[in-house]
């Protein structure tokens, strides 16, 4: 923090003085001191922007040069479909006709099973993470924590939990627990607990303290105050944030498979590493479809739940 002195907003009007003149004088003073801070901030921002452009080499010519190569890659994983055989059934020997959708999606059963696993991973991780976040959010809220050190401890905990990217946690857990969805679920749950813990505690900090005082005045404990003074106020927001996090976690759980932590990501990694053909595209399309469908359902659920909760 700078020790720059801001003009104090309070001023005195002596009897007989013109209030408008006095006000304008103090307003001008206040604006001068703010102007200095604003210019300092603008210069600092421009400097940081320039440095970050230089470091990341975010130059338009590089961007233009790299653009065609993105399409080049997609060219290699495009399905080789033939109009005549598009809907061709399996042959007598049980094999699909090359060039048909059936051939392209011959592993559909496996994909669907993995997509289902991905959604289950996201649900479990969100529930686990939201439960931990819920418990942490009360001590992590500045206005609610019973003791200062508990507040600091709870806040640092949520920071550590969300500080490490889930793919790294997943990597460590795969090493410790072995390949499979358990590592993925735990990794996402840990990150979710940190991220939601922060959001939940901010919701708590904005809650009205009047009901809490009401509960205190009847001889309630800290637990009573939280349960009846705060929870009913913040629950709709908690539900909304949790569902939003669920959408994010569906995306995350289709990524953590890359390090062996279960879900459709494992198959995507597999197809990219071993085949690098149209199967990559087949899996990608399914992931995009899944995420879109989940987003749509979750959004509906959110408005429905929050709308109803608000009536209570």
């Amino acid at each position: 923090m700078s020790s720059h002195h801001l003009a104090t907003p309070a001023f005195v009007i002596e009897p007989g003085q013109d209030p408008v003149t006095i006000f304008e004088k103090h307003r001008a003073e206040l604006q001068r001191s703010r102007l200095f801070m604003n210019i300092a901030m603008a210069v600092l921002f421009a400097l940081l922007l320039a440095v970050s452009i230089y470091v990341s080499k975010f130059y338009p010519d590089r961007l233009w040069a790299g653009l065609p190569r993105i399409f080049e890659y997609f060219g290699t994983v495009m399905p080789n479909l033939e109009a005549d055989n598009l809907f061709a059934a399996r042959q007598a020997n049980g094999k699909a006709v090359p060039g048909s959708i059936l051939y392209w999606y011959s592993d559909l059963g496996k994909y669907l099973q993995l997509l289902f696993e991905t959604v289950l991973m996201a649900i479990t991780a969100t529930m686990l993470g939201a439960a931990i976040a819920f418990l942490l959010s009360f001590p992590a809220a500045r206005n609610l924590a019973p003791l200062r050190w508990i507040n600091v401890l709870a806040r640092r905990t949520t920071e550590v939990l969300r500080g490490v990217p889930e793919i790294i946690i997943a990597l460590l857990l795969v090493f410790a627990l072995g390949i499979g969805p358990l590592a993925g679920v735990l990794a996402i749950a840990i990150h979710t607990a940190g991220a939601l813990g922060k959001l939940f505690s901010e919701v708590n900090e904005n809650a009205s303290m009047r009901p809490v005082e009401g509960l205190r005045s009847v001889g309630g404990t800290w637990w009573d105050e939280m349960r009846f003074g705060i929870v009913p106020q913040v629950l709709p927001n908690f539900v909304s944030y949790s569902l939003l996090r669920f959408e994010i976690n569906v995306r995350s759980s289709s990524i953590v498979g890359f390090v062996g932590a279960g879900g459709i990501g494992q198959e995507l990694n597999h197809t990219i590493s071993f085949y690098n053909d149209d199967r990559v595209m087949a899996v990608l399309i399914l992931i995009v479809l899944l995420v879109t469908v989940i987003d749509l359902i979750s959004e509906r659920l959110r408005t429905h739940l929050v709308g109803r909760e608000n009536l209570i």
């Binding site: 001023f11 009007i13 209030p19 408008v20 006000f23 307003r27």
Partner: protein
């Protein structure tokens, strides 16, 4: 002149305001009294159309303001200021900017968003604040003020609208006796000096008696009394508040006034 004819507001089957017909001449100070739920707030909020009437009309100087739409409705609201029980200021904004919000109707989208108020407008706002003894707080955030101070800032905001009518919805219900007096004195002074019609919902009878030219008593959404404070008898007051005949009914009990009128208090005590 403000005229209501057959004014009704229904919430489902319940009629909060039921067929009210009244005429209020320009410059009158009217106190609206009644139990909670009698329809006082709904009546006031229909005038500046924070609530829409179900039936009937509100006319101001012959113009039907209950049918206004779009820009005309906003123009009417800017002429018909309102003061709220909970002040309804923007806590994180400075006092002066809160007051300048009263000029917002006269600004374009751009000048409003940029808070580009002219020196004349600032002077107008400061003079309004000074009238209420609040000019020295102009550069503070509104949330740093006490309740009584906030209500005075809210009245200053209403004043810079240069309104013809000022609606006050329980303006002193959240204030201590001293601040209640300051706020009611300010409303009365504005009414007398500027000739602004004031309609105030009041929950205490003696405040209405002390400050208003005329008292309107509401019960279940209908007018049950309309007259001067002197015409309001003990029996009628009991009827408005629905007090049982045997119950003690004292104006002093409901008072937030510093010096309740001794005479009125005596009358009610002896009747009880």
């Amino acid at each position: 002149m403000l005229e209501f004819s057959g004014l009704t507001k229904a919430f489902g089957n319940h009629k909060a305001v039921n067929n009210i017909t009244l005429t209020i001449p320009q410059g009158q100070m009217v106190g609206v009294i009644g139990r909670s739920g009698a329809g006082k707030s709904t009546l006031l909020r229909m005038i500046n159309r924070l609530a829409a009437p179900t039936e009937g009309q509100i006319r101001f100087d012959g113009r039907d303001v209950s049918a206004l739409k779009g820009r005309d409705l906003l123009a009417w609201r800017s002429e018909c200021a309102m003061v709220f029980q909970q002040f309804n200021l923007v806590g994180r904004m400075s006092v002066i900017n809160n007051v300048l919000m009263g000029r917002i109707f006269h600004h374009s989208f751009a000048t409003a968003m940029l808070q580009a108020f002219s020196a004349e407008e600032r002077a107008l706002a400061i003079r309004a604040l000074d009238r209420l003894g609040m000019a020295h707080t102009a550069l503070q955030r509104a949330e740093t003020l006490s309740g009584g101070q906030m209500q005075r800032v809210a009245i200053a905001r209403a004043l810079v609208q240069r309104p013809k009518v000022m609606l006050a919805d329980e303006p002193i219900a959240s204030l201590d006796p001293l601040n209640a007096k300051v706020v009611m004195d300010a409303l009365r002074r504005i009414n007398q000096e500027d000739g602004i019609t004031v309609l105030a919902n009041l929950h205490t009878l003696d405040t209405a008696r002390t400050y208003c030219d005329r008292i309107v008593g509401l019960m279940s959404g209908a007018v049950v009394f309309d007259g001067t404070p002197d015409q309001l008898t003990d029996r009628q007051a009991r009827e408005i508040y629905g007090a049982e005949a045997d119950d003690a009914f004292s104006e002093g009990v409901t008072s937030t006034m510093l010096t309740p009128r001794a005479q009125a208090a005596d009358t009610f005590d002896s009747a009880a």
